[in-house]
Amino acid sequence: MTERSFPGYDVLDKRDTPSWNDATRDAIDERLKVPREPRFFSSDEFATLEAVCGRILPQPADRADPVPIAAYVDAKIFSGQLDGYRFDKLPPQGEAWRIGLAALDHEARDRHGARFRDLGRADRDGILRDMQQGRLEGDHWKGMPLKLFFTKRVVHDVTDAYYGHPTAWSEIGFGGPASPRGYVRMDKNRRDPWEAAEGKPGEEERALKENRHVV
């Protein structure tokens, strides 16, 4: 699989166009101001959380301002915002994460004699993959079903945070907010001038030019 590119496309360029209403501007402005310091997790837990987020959704090394995924996970729990359901086999969100982060450090020490955050990528991925497959055990998991925790808590929360961020929308060529302007060209291979243009091989220059005018 290769990286697609939408050269020069930034959803935020449309902030002051008819694609964004005031409610959207307020919501996204607020999102971009998320506090970078943890308020729910301890700084120790937060460092482990960041190490997990960095593997579930590794961001390009040359990205100037990476999406602060861990900060969004922390902010959601801190604000008391609920999902509307809880699997009977999982503790509430904050508690589940705390158990999980401590257990990951426990696994890292057992296996490699270091904290999870200090492991290399391959070792971190190895532990996460074992968690996904339900291959880890021990009292430190406090009876949490691992597959459920991995899919419905860890990956769920990380993707919620990342794909709710304008940087991710720009990365995948998503049009982003669209009210009240909406869209006109709904047929295949048609794009409205305020949508992302893809820099397909040989079309990078044109895409770059078009993406300067997505307003």
């Binding site: 959704l57 609920l82 359901y85 049009g175």
Partner: protein, 547 residues
């Protein structure tokens, strides 16, 4: 502009929000708690909102309660998946069983207008046989209502919502032309059409509750594609901007941020009113009749939480069936990649549909299903990809970059009613101090056979349409039904054909929870048709002194 809709009630001081104007108001008649109103309605969604309008228009005094806020779409709705989670019932619920139902966005709302505020607008009639599926098709349970009567109420609700749809609908008995023209297909809908034609199946533009031409103060749909996160331009015809303004004009009162916790009954087993929490305290509204319309989780929860010494197992529960026969509709999907740019986020998500398998009975399982086009936004798409394919890391980030090329079809299927699937009370309490609902669910063998069949058929259709890199989303469910089933025998049902409790004669339940079977199409139109029928029946019963 105006206040935070979560901070304090907006419907107060003789006025309610005008949903069509930023900061606007409309006059609203108000009642005192001590006034014995004709009807206290709990919930303002497809059931309660529709009933509030019709009962008020018939001259009854009505107070309708909603636990959620009263939004003005133009000023309160962002184009954003995360911010719009404010439309959902996010209070705690415990889910368990072999196939726990994920609650929240897909199946519940907590706002004036109910989950219609974020529904996908798909407005379908039941197949006629489903009202008597036990007698005519050999499964489930018969409804105490016949399809011919329902057909008349479908006509009425389709007019009330100006449904946009085709001139000729390909399945079922003749029906009038839809009031508004169909919406144009987007690229995702064209793929569905191509797949159906390759398989020799009919398809049609989906009848949708979003206007394709101006209607009153509502503008035509602008195809922004955030329909399932609230329509910020009012094109969507939800209860919030149709029946509720009608209700208020006719003299009904809406109370937002008003959580009803218990129905009061007297020694004669009649309901006397409702206890509700608003403005930081518990209050009591006197009422001659109470209608519960909180949908398949909150309605049974309220009945169970209203237990008394005379009704030890919950109100209206002489049959022991309150909270039983919970159904959810299978919502599995097949997705893949197109060589064309699809950009499925443009337009309503389900612009084309096939109901073929609702009308073909050559299957080795009971029940039917339809499938329709899809247009998940990035967060939902990421959840689908990760849960279905188990990918994360670089593989996930790269897969997500195919977003503009993805295409897929998703089923809405008929789940069999089973007494083992339930809504009960958990030990946990919510912020009002009320026991929360515990939702227990598992698919039956028949459900699994139906899902397998649908996945195979959907996959074949996408292959035939030239879609590649196919994968199945095997785990998903949506609309709910059951838990307060209607019937014509008090031993095997909770309410009668008029949605009236067998045990407490001035207590009604009117929402999706009364469905004895859930059908293989989206339920909102049927809920609203039942609400219209119930209003007419109440008028008739009242005229002969039976209420």
């Amino acid at each position: 502009m105006s206040s935070d809709p979560f901070e304090r009630p907006r419907a107060a001081d003789g006025r309610a929000p005008d949903v069509f104007k930023m900061g606007g108001w409309i006059p609203m008649r108000q009642n005192r708690d001590g006034d014995e109103v004709d009807f206290a309605i709990v919930g303002t969604g497809a059931g309660g909102g529709t009933l509030a309008a019709r009962l008020a228009e018939k001259g009854f005094s009505v107070v309708a309660f909603d636990a959620g806020p009263y939004f003005r779409p133009l000023e309160d709705f962002a184009s954003d998946e995360t911010a719009q989670e404010k439309l959902y019932w996010n209070d705690p619920r415990v889910v368990e069983g072999a196939d726990p139902i994920v609650m929240g966005g897909k199946n519940s709302g907590k706002t004036v207008g109910g989950s219609m505020v974020h529904f996908a607008m798909v407005s379908l009639r039941f197949r006629p046989e489903w009202f008597k599926s036990r007698s005519t098709l050999g499964y489930g349970a018969d409804w105490p209502i016949g399809w011919e009567e329902m057909w008349r109420y479908y006509d009425q609700v389709e007019k009330d919502l100006s449904i946009s749809g085709p001139i000729n609908y390909p399945w079922g008995p003749p029906r009038p032309r839809y009031p508004y023209r169909p919406h144009p297909l987007n690229a995702a809908a064209e793929v569905l059409a191509r797949g159906c034609e390759a398989m020799g199946m009919k398809w049609t533009p989906t009848p949708l509750a979003t206007v394709s031409a101006p209607r009153g103060e509502a503008h035509p749909c602008v195809y922004r594609g955030f329909c399932r996160f609230g329509c910020s331009t009012n094109a969507k015809q939800s209860t919030l901007n149709t029946y509720i303004p009608r209700a208020i004009r006719a003299g009904a009162e809406i109370r937002d941020l008003a959580m009803v916790g218990r129905i009061e009954t007297d020694a004669r087993d009649r309901a006397t009113g409702v206890h509700y929490h608003r403005d930081g305290r518990w209050r009591f509204q006197k009422a001659r009749n109470v209608i519960v319309a909180g949908y398949a989780v909150e309605s049974p929860r309220l009945l169970l939480n209203s237990a008394t010494d005379r009704h030890r197992h919950g109100l209206a529960n002489g049959s022991g069936l309150v909270g039983k026969y919970l159904m959810t509709q299978p919502n599995q999907a097949v997705y893949g990649k197109s060589k064309d740019e699809i950009r499925w986020n443009k337009g309503p998500p389900s612009l084309a549909i096939t109901e073929h398998w609702n009308y073909d009975d050559r299957k080795d399982f009971d029940g039917g299903y339809c499938w329709m086009g899809q247009g998940p936004l990035p967060i939902e798409w990421a959840k689908t990809v990760t849960a279905s394919r188990g990918i994360w890391g670089d593989e996930l980030r790269l897969a997500m970059q195919d977003y503009n090329y993805q295409v897929g079809v998703k089923m809405v299927g008929e789940c069999m009613p089973s007494e083992a699937n339930t809504v009960t009370l958990a030990d946990q309490k919510d912020r009002y101090g009320l026991p929360v609902a515990k939702v227990t669910f598992g698919w039956s063998d028949n459900d699994k056979a139906l899902i397998r069949h649908a996945l195979d058929q959907m996959e074949m259709s996408l292959e035939a349409a030239g879609v590649t890199d196919l994968f199945r989303q095997e785990e998903d469910a949506n609309h709910l039904g059951g838990t307060v089933r209607m019937g014509d025998d008090r031993r095997t049902s909770v309410v009668d054909a008029d949605c009236r409790s067998w045990d407490v004669p001035n207590l009604f339940v009117c929402d999706g929870s009364v469905f004895p079977t859930v059908g293989g199409v989206n339920p909102s139109l049927t809920i609203q048709a039942i609400a219209l029928r119930t209003a007419d029946r109440i008028e008739q019963l009242a005229a002969r002194g039976d209420i």
